[in-house]
Protein backbone atom coordinates (compact mmCIF):
# COMPACT_ATOMS: atom_id res chain seq x y z
CA UNK A 1 0.00 0.00 0.00
CA UNK A 2 1.36 3.42 -0.92
CA UNK A 3 2.60 5.41 2.03
CA UNK A 4 0.01 7.85 3.28
CA UNK A 5 -2.83 6.16 1.40
CA UNK A 6 -5.81 5.24 3.48
CA UNK A 7 -6.94 1.79 4.36
CA UNK A 8 -9.62 0.77 1.89
CA UNK A 9 -12.02 -1.43 3.87
CA UNK A 10 -13.98 -2.27 0.73
CA UNK A 11 -10.89 -3.90 -0.70
CA UNK A 12 -9.93 -5.55 2.59
CA UNK A 13 -13.38 -7.15 2.76
CA UNK A 14 -12.55 -9.18 -0.29
CA UNK A 15 -10.13 -11.21 1.82
CA UNK A 16 -12.83 -12.16 4.32
CA UNK A 17 -15.13 -14.91 3.02
CA UNK A 18 -17.83 -14.19 5.59
CA UNK A 19 -18.05 -10.56 4.50
CA UNK A 20 -17.07 -10.60 0.86
CA UNK A 21 -19.38 -10.28 -2.08
CA UNK A 22 -22.67 -9.44 -0.47
CA UNK A 23 -23.93 -5.91 -1.00
CA UNK A 24 -27.08 -4.08 -0.02
CA UNK A 25 -29.82 -6.06 1.68
CA UNK A 26 -28.60 -9.37 3.01
CA UNK A 27 -25.12 -8.00 3.56
CA UNK A 28 -23.76 -8.93 6.98
CA UNK A 29 -23.13 -5.84 9.06
CA UNK A 30 -20.65 -7.28 11.50
CA UNK A 31 -20.08 -4.90 14.39
CA UNK A 32 -18.70 -7.32 16.96
CA UNK A 33 -15.01 -7.40 16.13
CA UNK A 34 -14.11 -6.71 19.76
CA UNK A 35 -15.57 -10.12 20.61
CA UNK A 36 -13.74 -11.78 17.75
CA UNK A 37 -12.64 -10.54 14.36
CA UNK A 38 -13.60 -12.25 11.15
CA UNK A 39 -10.89 -14.37 9.54
CA UNK A 40 -9.17 -13.66 6.26
CA UNK A 41 -8.89 -16.41 3.66
CA UNK A 42 -5.13 -16.71 4.18
CA UNK A 43 -5.62 -17.63 7.85
CA UNK A 44 -8.33 -20.16 7.08
CA UNK A 45 -6.16 -21.65 4.35
CA UNK A 46 -3.07 -21.80 6.56
CA UNK A 47 -4.91 -23.68 9.28
CA UNK A 48 -6.23 -26.19 6.76
CA UNK A 49 -2.83 -26.43 5.11
CA UNK A 50 -1.22 -27.37 8.40
CA UNK A 51 -3.51 -30.37 8.76
CA UNK A 52 -3.09 -31.34 5.11
CA UNK A 53 0.65 -30.97 4.87
CA UNK A 54 2.41 -30.66 8.22
CA UNK A 55 0.31 -32.36 10.87
CA UNK A 56 2.38 -34.02 13.60
CA UNK A 57 2.97 -33.31 17.26
CA UNK A 58 5.59 -30.80 18.26
CA UNK A 59 8.91 -31.25 20.01
CA UNK A 60 8.49 -35.03 19.96
CA UNK A 61 9.07 -36.90 16.74
CA UNK A 62 12.48 -37.11 15.12
CA UNK A 63 11.02 -37.48 11.66
CA UNK A 64 10.75 -34.78 9.05
CA UNK A 65 7.01 -34.14 9.46
CA UNK A 66 7.37 -33.60 13.20
CA UNK A 67 10.16 -31.18 12.42
CA UNK A 68 7.83 -29.23 10.14
CA UNK A 69 5.13 -29.04 12.80
CA UNK A 70 7.66 -27.87 15.36
CA UNK A 71 8.93 -25.28 12.93
CA UNK A 72 5.38 -23.98 12.36
CA UNK A 73 4.84 -23.71 16.09
CA UNK A 74 8.16 -22.07 16.89
CA UNK A 75 7.80 -19.89 13.81
CA UNK A 76 4.64 -18.44 15.34
CA UNK A 77 6.51 -17.65 18.53
CA UNK A 78 9.19 -15.80 16.60
CA UNK A 79 6.62 -14.00 14.47
CA UNK A 80 4.72 -12.74 17.51
CA UNK A 81 7.98 -11.64 19.10
CA UNK A 82 8.86 -9.69 15.97
CA UNK A 83 5.37 -8.19 15.80
CA UNK A 84 5.74 -6.74 19.29
CA UNK A 85 9.48 -6.18 19.28
CA UNK A 86 9.91 -8.70 22.08
CA UNK A 87 12.36 -11.48 22.87
CA UNK A 88 11.04 -14.82 21.52
CA UNK A 89 12.24 -16.49 24.73
CA UNK A 90 9.63 -14.36 26.46
CA UNK A 91 6.67 -15.46 24.33
CA UNK A 92 4.52 -18.08 26.06
CA UNK A 93 1.92 -19.66 23.81
CA UNK A 94 -1.43 -20.19 25.54
CA UNK A 95 -5.05 -20.94 24.66
CA UNK A 96 -6.24 -17.34 24.79
CA UNK A 97 -5.72 -14.07 26.63
CA UNK A 98 -7.67 -15.40 29.61
CA UNK A 99 -5.26 -18.30 30.06
CA UNK A 100 -2.33 -15.90 29.71
CA UNK A 101 -3.75 -13.61 32.41
CA UNK A 102 -4.43 -16.57 34.67
CA UNK A 103 -0.81 -17.58 34.29
CA UNK A 104 0.34 -14.05 35.08
CA UNK A 105 -1.89 -13.80 38.14
CA UNK A 106 -1.84 -17.25 39.68
CA UNK A 107 1.76 -17.80 38.61
CA UNK A 108 2.80 -14.78 40.65
CA UNK A 109 1.14 -16.04 43.85
CA UNK A 110 4.62 -16.95 45.11
CA UNK A 111 5.60 -13.25 44.85
CA UNK A 112 2.71 -12.11 47.06
CA UNK A 113 2.04 -12.22 50.78
CA UNK A 114 -0.38 -10.90 53.35
CA UNK A 115 -0.67 -7.13 53.20
CA UNK A 116 0.78 -6.85 49.70
CA UNK A 117 -1.28 -4.95 47.17
CA UNK A 118 -2.41 -5.57 43.63
CA UNK A 119 -3.51 -2.52 41.69
CA UNK A 120 -6.13 -2.98 38.96
CA UNK A 121 -8.65 -0.62 37.38
CA UNK A 122 -12.44 -0.49 37.58
CA UNK A 123 -12.73 -0.94 33.83
CA UNK A 124 -11.08 -4.36 33.60
CA UNK A 125 -12.57 -7.26 31.70
CA UNK A 126 -13.33 -10.16 34.06
CA UNK A 127 -10.30 -11.93 32.55
CA UNK A 128 -8.02 -9.32 34.11
CA UNK A 129 -9.94 -9.09 37.35
CA UNK A 130 -11.16 -12.46 38.54
CA UNK A 131 -7.70 -14.13 38.43
CA UNK A 132 -6.40 -11.29 40.62
CA UNK A 133 -9.34 -11.70 43.01
CA UNK A 134 -8.41 -15.36 43.24
CA UNK A 135 -4.73 -14.78 43.85
CA UNK A 136 -5.52 -12.09 46.42
CA UNK A 137 -7.75 -14.52 48.27
CA UNK A 138 -5.08 -17.17 48.21
CA UNK A 139 -2.21 -14.99 49.35
CA UNK A 140 -3.88 -12.45 51.64
CA UNK A 141 -2.98 -9.62 49.29
CA UNK A 142 -5.43 -6.75 48.82
CA UNK A 143 -6.91 -5.42 45.57
CA UNK A 144 -6.91 -1.70 44.87
CA UNK A 145 -8.70 -0.07 41.95
CA UNK A 146 -7.89 2.94 39.81
CA UNK A 147 -11.22 4.77 39.41
CA UNK A 148 -12.62 6.57 36.38
CA UNK A 149 -13.09 10.27 35.93
CA UNK A 150 -16.38 11.65 34.66
CA UNK A 151 -15.25 11.30 31.06
CA UNK A 152 -14.63 7.58 31.33
CA UNK A 153 -10.87 7.92 31.54
CA UNK A 154 -8.72 6.49 34.29
CA UNK A 155 -8.39 9.03 37.07
CA UNK A 156 -4.65 9.41 37.42
CA UNK A 157 -5.04 11.89 40.25
CA UNK A 158 -5.96 8.94 42.41
CA UNK A 159 -2.71 7.17 41.58
CA UNK A 160 -0.49 8.57 44.35
CA UNK A 161 -2.97 7.36 46.95
CA UNK A 162 -3.11 3.91 45.39
CA UNK A 163 0.54 3.16 44.68
CA UNK A 164 2.66 2.43 47.70
CA UNK A 165 5.55 0.38 49.01
CA UNK A 166 3.29 -2.69 49.22
CA UNK A 167 2.13 -2.47 45.59
CA UNK A 168 3.60 -5.61 44.04
CA UNK A 169 1.61 -5.76 40.84
CA UNK A 170 -0.25 -3.29 38.66
CA UNK A 171 -2.55 -4.98 36.15
CA UNK A 172 -4.49 -2.96 33.60
CA UNK A 173 -5.78 -3.10 30.09
CA UNK A 174 -4.21 -1.23 27.20
CA UNK A 175 -7.73 -0.52 25.95
CA UNK A 176 -11.11 -1.06 27.57
CA UNK A 177 -13.47 -3.45 25.83
CA UNK A 178 -16.49 -1.45 27.00
CA UNK A 179 -15.47 2.20 27.12
CA UNK A 180 -12.86 1.92 24.40
CA UNK A 181 -10.63 4.02 26.64
CA UNK A 182 -6.91 3.92 25.91
CA UNK A 183 -5.22 4.81 29.19
CA UNK A 184 -1.80 6.47 29.32
CA UNK A 185 -0.27 3.06 29.77
CA UNK A 186 3.40 3.97 29.59
CA UNK A 187 3.00 6.62 32.25
CA UNK A 188 1.06 4.39 34.63
CA UNK A 189 3.59 1.61 34.03
CA UNK A 190 6.46 3.94 34.81
CA UNK A 191 4.89 5.11 38.04
CA UNK A 192 4.00 1.57 39.06
CA UNK A 193 7.51 0.41 38.37
CA UNK A 194 8.92 3.28 40.43
CA UNK A 195 6.80 1.99 43.28
CA UNK A 196 8.44 -1.38 42.77
CA UNK A 197 5.51 -3.16 41.11
CA UNK A 198 5.44 -5.59 38.21
CA UNK A 199 3.28 -4.33 35.36
CA UNK A 200 0.82 -6.70 33.70
CA UNK A 201 -0.97 -5.47 30.59
CA UNK A 202 -4.15 -6.92 29.11
CA UNK A 203 -3.68 -6.04 25.46
CA UNK A 204 -6.65 -8.09 24.19
CA UNK A 205 -8.34 -4.97 22.74
CA UNK A 206 -5.13 -3.18 21.78
CA UNK A 207 -3.29 -5.81 19.76
CA UNK A 208 -4.25 -5.56 16.12
CA UNK A 209 -5.84 -2.15 16.68
CA UNK A 210 -2.92 0.02 17.78
CA UNK A 211 0.74 0.03 16.85
CA UNK A 212 2.08 -1.90 19.84
CA UNK A 213 5.63 -2.27 21.04
CA UNK A 214 6.20 -4.46 24.05
CA UNK A 215 8.95 -2.22 25.28
CA UNK A 216 7.03 1.03 24.88
CA UNK A 217 4.04 -0.23 26.84
CA UNK A 218 6.31 -0.57 29.85
CA UNK A 219 4.86 -4.00 30.56
CA UNK A 220 6.62 -6.81 32.34
CA UNK A 221 3.96 -9.19 31.11
CA UNK A 222 1.45 -8.63 28.32
CA UNK A 223 -1.47 -10.83 27.27
CA UNK A 224 -3.51 -11.02 24.10
CA UNK A 225 -5.57 -13.40 21.95
CA UNK A 226 -4.96 -14.24 18.30
CA UNK A 227 -8.67 -14.44 17.51
CA UNK A 228 -9.16 -10.73 18.13
CA UNK A 229 -6.38 -9.88 15.66
CA UNK A 230 -7.77 -11.63 12.58
CA UNK A 231 -6.11 -14.89 13.66
CA UNK A 232 -7.50 -18.28 14.63
CA UNK A 233 -9.33 -19.21 17.81
CA UNK A 234 -7.64 -21.26 20.51
CA UNK A 235 -4.43 -19.26 20.58
CA UNK A 236 -3.16 -16.57 22.91
CA UNK A 237 0.09 -15.26 24.28
CA UNK A 238 1.72 -14.12 27.45
CA UNK A 239 4.63 -11.99 26.35
CA UNK A 240 7.11 -11.19 29.07
CA UNK A 241 10.63 -10.35 29.92
CA UNK A 242 12.29 -13.75 30.25
CA UNK A 243 13.67 -12.84 33.68
CA UNK A 244 10.17 -11.97 34.88
CA UNK A 245 8.71 -15.19 33.48
CA UNK A 246 11.43 -17.06 35.42
CA UNK A 247 9.78 -15.88 38.61
CA UNK A 248 6.35 -17.32 37.79
CA UNK A 249 5.18 -20.70 38.97
CA UNK A 250 3.91 -23.02 36.20
CA UNK A 251 0.20 -23.66 36.67
CA UNK A 252 -0.05 -26.78 34.57
CA UNK A 253 2.40 -29.61 34.70
CA UNK A 254 2.90 -32.70 32.58
CA UNK A 255 4.47 -33.36 29.22
CA UNK A 256 6.45 -30.79 27.22
CA UNK A 257 7.12 -28.50 30.16
CA UNK A 258 9.72 -30.61 31.98
CA UNK A 259 13.47 -30.93 31.85
CA UNK A 260 13.89 -34.19 33.76
CA UNK A 261 11.36 -36.36 35.53
CA UNK A 262 12.07 -38.98 38.15
CA UNK A 263 9.58 -41.19 39.97
CA UNK A 264 9.14 -38.63 42.71
CA UNK A 265 10.35 -35.30 41.40
CA UNK A 266 10.69 -33.24 38.27
CA UNK A 267 12.50 -30.17 37.10
CA UNK A 268 11.12 -27.63 34.70
CA UNK A 269 12.13 -26.89 31.16
CA UNK A 270 13.42 -23.46 30.25
CA UNK A 271 11.15 -20.47 29.92
CA UNK A 272 8.82 -20.21 27.95
CA UNK A 273 8.21 -23.95 27.41
CA UNK A 274 7.87 -24.41 31.15
CA UNK A 275 4.41 -22.87 30.79
CA UNK A 276 3.29 -24.94 27.83
CA UNK A 277 2.23 -28.29 29.25
CA UNK A 278 0.67 -30.80 26.87
CA UNK A 279 -0.04 -30.67 23.17
CA UNK A 280 -0.64 -27.09 22.04
CA UNK A 281 -2.86 -25.83 19.22
CA UNK A 282 -0.22 -26.14 16.54
CA UNK A 283 -2.64 -25.59 13.65
CA UNK A 284 -3.70 -22.27 15.13
CA UNK A 285 -0.07 -21.32 15.65
CA UNK A 286 0.58 -22.12 12.00
CA UNK A 287 -2.34 -19.93 10.95
CA UNK A 288 -1.57 -16.82 12.98
CA UNK A 289 1.49 -15.43 11.18
CA UNK A 290 -0.53 -14.76 8.00
CA UNK A 291 -2.91 -12.59 10.07
CA UNK A 292 0.02 -10.57 11.33
CA UNK A 293 1.33 -10.34 7.76
CA UNK A 294 -1.98 -8.86 6.68
CA UNK A 295 -1.93 -6.30 9.50
CA UNK A 296 1.61 -5.29 8.67
CA UNK A 297 0.96 -5.13 4.94
CA UNK A 298 -1.77 -2.62 5.69
CA UNK A 299 0.28 -1.02 8.43
CA UNK A 300 -0.88 -0.59 12.00
CA UNK A 301 -0.78 3.18 11.69
CA UNK A 302 -3.35 2.91 8.92
CA UNK A 303 -5.42 0.43 10.89
CA UNK A 304 -5.39 2.86 13.77
CA UNK A 305 -6.38 5.81 11.62
CA UNK A 306 -9.18 3.81 10.03
CA UNK A 307 -10.61 2.79 13.39
CA UNK A 308 -10.32 6.32 14.70
CA UNK A 309 -12.23 7.71 11.73
CA UNK A 310 -14.96 5.12 12.16
CA UNK A 311 -15.16 5.88 15.87
CA UNK A 312 -15.43 9.58 15.20
CA UNK A 313 -18.15 8.93 12.62
CA UNK A 314 -20.03 6.57 14.94
CA UNK A 315 -19.85 9.00 17.86
CA UNK A 316 -21.17 11.75 15.66
CA UNK A 317 -24.00 9.71 14.16
CA UNK A 318 -25.04 8.09 17.44
CA UNK A 319 -25.16 11.51 19.14
CA UNK A 320 -27.91 12.43 16.72
CA UNK A 321 -30.17 9.90 18.45
CA UNK A 322 -31.86 11.79 21.22
CA UNK A 323 -31.29 10.51 24.73
CA UNK A 324 -28.75 7.88 23.74
CA UNK A 325 -26.08 7.61 26.41
CA UNK A 326 -22.68 7.02 24.88
CA UNK A 327 -20.03 5.52 27.16
CA UNK A 328 -16.38 6.52 27.30
CA UNK A 329 -14.30 9.51 26.26
CA UNK A 330 -15.66 11.94 23.69
CA UNK A 331 -12.31 12.25 21.92
CA UNK A 332 -11.76 9.44 19.36
CA UNK A 333 -8.02 9.74 19.88
CA UNK A 334 -8.48 8.40 23.38
CA UNK A 335 -10.42 5.35 22.24
CA UNK A 336 -10.05 2.17 20.22
CA UNK A 337 -12.52 1.26 17.50
CA UNK A 338 -15.60 0.48 19.51
CA UNK A 339 -18.54 2.41 20.88
CA UNK A 340 -20.81 1.22 23.67
CA UNK A 341 -24.03 2.93 24.55
CA UNK A 342 -27.16 2.67 26.56
CA UNK A 343 -30.55 3.52 25.15
CA UNK A 344 -33.00 4.46 27.90
CA UNK A 345 -35.82 3.87 25.43
CA UNK A 346 -35.07 0.32 24.33
CA UNK A 347 -33.44 -2.38 26.44
CA UNK A 348 -30.11 -3.63 25.01
CA UNK A 349 -31.51 -7.14 24.50
CA UNK A 350 -34.48 -5.98 22.52
CA UNK A 351 -32.29 -3.64 20.55
CA UNK A 352 -29.76 -6.38 19.75
CA UNK A 353 -32.47 -8.81 18.69
CA UNK A 354 -34.12 -6.14 16.57
CA UNK A 355 -30.82 -5.15 14.96
CA UNK A 356 -30.10 -8.80 14.26
CA UNK A 357 -33.34 -8.88 12.32
CA UNK A 358 -31.92 -6.00 10.27
CA UNK A 359 -28.71 -7.94 9.60
CA UNK A 360 -26.68 -5.92 12.10
CA UNK A 361 -24.62 -7.98 14.56
CA UNK A 362 -23.79 -6.12 17.78
CA UNK A 363 -23.12 -7.26 21.28
CA UNK A 364 -25.54 -6.69 24.17
CA UNK A 365 -24.82 -7.37 27.80
CA UNK A 366 -22.21 -6.47 30.35
CA UNK A 367 -19.33 -7.54 28.07
CA UNK A 368 -17.62 -9.40 30.90
CA UNK A 369 -17.32 -6.17 32.87
CA UNK A 370 -20.01 -6.32 35.54
CA UNK A 371 -18.27 -4.08 38.09
CA UNK A 372 -17.84 -1.37 35.47
CA UNK A 373 -21.52 -1.46 34.53
CA UNK A 374 -22.44 -1.24 38.19
CA UNK A 375 -20.33 1.92 38.48
CA UNK A 376 -21.94 3.34 35.36
CA UNK A 377 -25.33 2.57 36.88
CA UNK A 378 -26.64 0.49 34.00
CA UNK A 379 -27.21 -3.28 33.94
CA UNK A 380 -25.90 -3.68 30.45
CA UNK A 381 -25.04 -1.86 27.28
CA UNK A 382 -24.85 -2.35 23.56
CA UNK A 383 -21.49 -2.35 21.84
CA UNK A 384 -20.61 -1.78 18.23
CA UNK A 385 -16.99 -2.57 17.45
CA UNK A 386 -15.02 -2.15 14.29
CA UNK A 387 -12.29 -3.87 12.32
CA UNK A 388 -10.21 -3.33 9.21
CA UNK A 389 -13.16 -4.40 7.04
CA UNK A 390 -15.73 -2.11 8.65
CA UNK A 391 -17.22 0.52 6.37
CA UNK A 392 -19.16 3.68 7.19
CA UNK A 393 -22.30 2.06 5.76
CA UNK A 394 -22.08 -0.41 8.65
CA UNK A 395 -22.37 2.48 11.09
CA UNK A 396 -25.24 3.93 9.04
CA UNK A 397 -27.08 0.59 9.21
CA UNK A 398 -26.63 0.59 12.98
CA UNK A 399 -27.96 4.10 13.46
CA UNK A 400 -30.92 3.52 11.14
CA UNK A 401 -31.64 0.23 12.92
CA UNK A 402 -31.76 1.94 16.31
CA UNK A 403 -34.20 4.51 14.95
CA UNK A 404 -36.45 1.76 13.61
CA UNK A 405 -36.22 -0.19 16.87
CA UNK A 406 -37.28 2.86 18.82
CA UNK A 407 -40.35 3.19 16.65
CA UNK A 408 -41.09 -0.52 17.02
CA UNK A 409 -40.84 -0.62 20.80
CA UNK A 410 -42.09 2.85 21.63
CA UNK A 411 -44.68 3.34 18.92
Amino acid sequence: MAAGAKLDPGKVRGEFPLLAGKRGKGRLVYLDSAATTQKPERVIAAEARFYRESNANVHRGLYDLAGRATEAYEGCRRRVAAFLGADPRGVVITRNATAALNLAALGSARLLGRGDEILVTVMEHHANLVPWIQVAKRTGAALKHIPLDRMGRLDLEALPGLLGPRTRIAALSAASNVLGTIPPLAEIARRAREAGALVVVDAAQAAGRLPLSFEKTGADLLAFSAHKCYGPMGLGFLVGKPEVLERLEPLETGGEMIEAVHMDRASWAEVPRRFEAGTPNVAAAAAFPPALDLLEEIGLDRVRRHEMELTEYALERLSSLEGLEILGPANPEERVGLVSFHDPLVHPHDLATFLDGEGVAVRAGHHCAQPLHRILGIPSSLRASFGIYTVKEDVDALVEGIGKARRYFQG
Binding site: H347, P348, H349, D350, T353, F354, D356, G357, A364, G365, H366, Q370, H373, P379, S380, Y408, F409
Partner: protein
Protein backbone atom coordinates in the same frame (compact mmCIF):
# COMPACT_ATOMS: atom_id res chain seq x y z
CA UNK B 1 -36.72 -15.16 11.38
CA UNK B 2 -39.67 -12.91 12.07
CA UNK B 3 -39.42 -10.46 14.94
CA UNK B 4 -43.18 -10.44 15.34
CA UNK B 5 -42.93 -14.09 16.44
CA UNK B 6 -41.08 -12.86 19.49
CA UNK B 7 -42.76 -9.54 20.09
CA UNK B 8 -46.39 -10.55 19.67
CA UNK B 9 -49.11 -8.08 20.55
CA UNK B 10 -49.79 -9.75 23.88
CA UNK B 11 -46.11 -9.55 24.79
CA UNK B 12 -45.86 -5.92 23.76
CA UNK B 13 -48.98 -5.12 25.75
CA UNK B 14 -47.55 -6.68 28.90
CA UNK B 15 -44.27 -4.90 28.24
CA UNK B 16 -45.84 -1.49 27.86
CA UNK B 17 -48.30 -1.92 30.74
CA UNK B 18 -46.69 -4.40 33.08
CA UNK B 19 -48.87 -5.81 35.89
CA UNK B 20 -47.71 -6.31 39.42
CA UNK B 21 -45.73 -3.11 39.59
CA UNK B 22 -47.35 -1.61 42.69
CA UNK B 23 -45.34 -2.03 45.88
CA UNK B 24 -46.94 -4.50 48.31
CA UNK B 25 -48.16 -3.55 51.76
CA UNK B 26 -46.64 -6.66 53.22
CA UNK B 27 -43.96 -8.94 51.79
CA UNK B 28 -43.96 -12.51 53.05
CA UNK B 29 -41.68 -14.10 50.49
CA UNK B 30 -39.02 -12.33 48.54
CA UNK B 31 -36.44 -13.48 46.00
CA UNK B 32 -33.93 -11.85 43.72
CA UNK B 33 -32.98 -13.33 40.39
CA UNK B 34 -30.28 -12.31 37.98
CA UNK B 35 -29.33 -13.26 34.50
CA UNK B 36 -25.54 -13.45 34.72
CA UNK B 37 -25.09 -13.30 30.97
CA UNK B 38 -26.66 -9.85 30.67
CA UNK B 39 -26.80 -8.35 34.13
CA UNK B 40 -30.58 -8.07 34.25
CA UNK B 41 -32.06 -8.39 37.71
CA UNK B 42 -35.57 -9.05 38.92
CA UNK B 43 -37.03 -8.87 42.42
CA UNK B 44 -40.19 -10.80 43.29
CA UNK B 45 -42.33 -10.06 46.31
CA UNK B 46 -45.21 -12.27 47.37
CA UNK B 47 -47.89 -11.50 49.88
CA UNK B 48 -49.15 -14.83 51.19
CA UNK B 49 -52.01 -15.78 53.48
CA UNK B 50 -52.73 -19.31 54.59
CA UNK B 51 -50.60 -20.73 51.84
CA UNK B 52 -52.26 -18.68 49.11
CA UNK B 53 -50.61 -15.92 47.07
CA UNK B 54 -52.68 -12.78 47.45
CA UNK B 55 -50.47 -10.35 45.64
CA UNK B 56 -47.33 -10.33 43.53
CA UNK B 57 -44.90 -7.46 43.19
CA UNK B 58 -42.31 -7.44 40.44
CA UNK B 59 -39.35 -5.07 40.55
CA UNK B 60 -36.50 -4.31 38.22
CA UNK B 61 -36.65 -3.28 34.62
CA UNK B 62 -35.54 -5.78 32.04
CA UNK B 63 -36.03 -6.22 28.34
CA UNK B 64 -39.45 -6.53 26.73
CA UNK B 65 -39.35 -10.30 27.01
CA UNK B 66 -38.45 -10.52 30.69
CA UNK B 67 -40.75 -7.63 31.61
CA UNK B 68 -43.66 -9.25 29.80
CA UNK B 69 -42.85 -12.60 31.34
CA UNK B 70 -42.82 -11.05 34.84
CA UNK B 71 -46.11 -9.30 34.14
CA UNK B 72 -47.72 -12.53 32.97
CA UNK B 73 -46.36 -14.25 36.06
CA UNK B 74 -47.93 -11.64 38.31
CA UNK B 75 -51.25 -12.13 36.60
CA UNK B 76 -51.12 -15.92 36.56
CA UNK B 77 -50.04 -16.81 40.07
CA UNK B 78 -52.16 -14.36 42.04
CA UNK B 79 -54.77 -16.36 43.87
CA UNK B 80 -52.91 -19.67 43.57
CA UNK B 81 -51.63 -21.68 46.51
CA UNK B 82 -47.84 -21.92 46.81
CA UNK B 83 -48.02 -25.50 45.58
CA UNK B 84 -50.09 -24.59 42.56
CA UNK B 85 -47.76 -21.69 41.78
CA UNK B 86 -44.79 -24.05 41.92
CA UNK B 87 -46.50 -26.44 39.56
CA UNK B 88 -47.33 -23.67 37.12
CA UNK B 89 -43.79 -22.30 37.26
CA UNK B 90 -42.27 -25.71 36.55
CA UNK B 91 -44.59 -26.21 33.60
CA UNK B 92 -43.84 -22.77 32.24
CA UNK B 93 -40.15 -23.45 32.52
CA UNK B 94 -40.63 -26.67 30.59
CA UNK B 95 -42.71 -24.97 27.92
CA UNK B 96 -40.28 -22.07 27.46
CA UNK B 97 -37.38 -24.47 27.17
CA UNK B 98 -39.36 -26.50 24.66
CA UNK B 99 -39.47 -29.60 26.85
CA UNK B 100 -43.27 -29.48 27.06
CA UNK B 101 -45.44 -28.75 24.06
CA UNK B 102 -47.50 -25.61 24.67
CA UNK B 103 -50.66 -27.43 23.63
CA UNK B 104 -50.37 -29.80 26.56
CA UNK B 105 -51.09 -27.16 29.15
CA UNK B 106 -53.19 -24.05 29.36
CA UNK B 107 -50.65 -21.30 29.35
CA UNK B 108 -52.85 -18.26 29.10
CA UNK B 109 -50.89 -15.25 27.94
CA UNK B 110 -47.64 -17.09 28.35
CA UNK B 111 -48.47 -18.94 25.15
CA UNK B 112 -47.55 -15.70 23.40
CA UNK B 113 -44.08 -15.92 24.88
CA UNK B 114 -43.29 -19.32 23.45
CA UNK B 115 -42.18 -17.54 20.29
CA UNK B 116 -38.99 -17.02 22.25
CA UNK B 117 -37.97 -20.58 21.44
CA UNK B 118 -37.11 -19.45 17.94
CA UNK B 119 -34.64 -17.04 19.54
CA UNK B 120 -32.52 -19.34 21.70
CA UNK B 121 -30.39 -16.52 23.13
CA UNK B 122 -33.52 -14.90 24.54
CA UNK B 123 -35.02 -17.91 26.33
CA UNK B 124 -33.19 -16.92 29.49
CA UNK B 125 -34.94 -13.55 29.44
CA UNK B 126 -38.36 -15.21 29.50
CA UNK B 127 -37.28 -17.71 32.14
CA UNK B 128 -35.86 -15.23 34.63
CA UNK B 129 -39.05 -14.34 36.56
CA UNK B 130 -40.21 -17.97 36.67
CA UNK B 131 -36.87 -19.30 37.86
CA UNK B 132 -36.86 -16.58 40.50
CA UNK B 133 -40.33 -17.63 41.63
CA UNK B 134 -39.17 -21.23 41.96
CA UNK B 135 -36.20 -20.08 44.05
CA UNK B 136 -38.52 -18.10 46.29
CA UNK B 137 -40.77 -21.10 46.81
CA UNK B 138 -37.80 -23.34 47.50
CA UNK B 139 -36.50 -20.94 50.14
CA UNK B 140 -39.92 -20.90 51.74
CA UNK B 141 -40.04 -24.69 51.82
CA UNK B 142 -36.64 -24.84 53.49
CA UNK B 143 -37.83 -22.44 56.17
CA UNK B 144 -40.84 -24.47 57.14
Amino acid sequence: MNLDDLYRDVVMDHYKNPRGREPLERVDIHAEGANPSCGDEVGLDLQVEEGRILKVGVRGRGCAVSTASGSILAEMVEGLTLEEAGRVARRMKGALKGEVRPGEIDMGDLEALTGVRKFPVRIKCALLPWVTLLEALLEKEKET
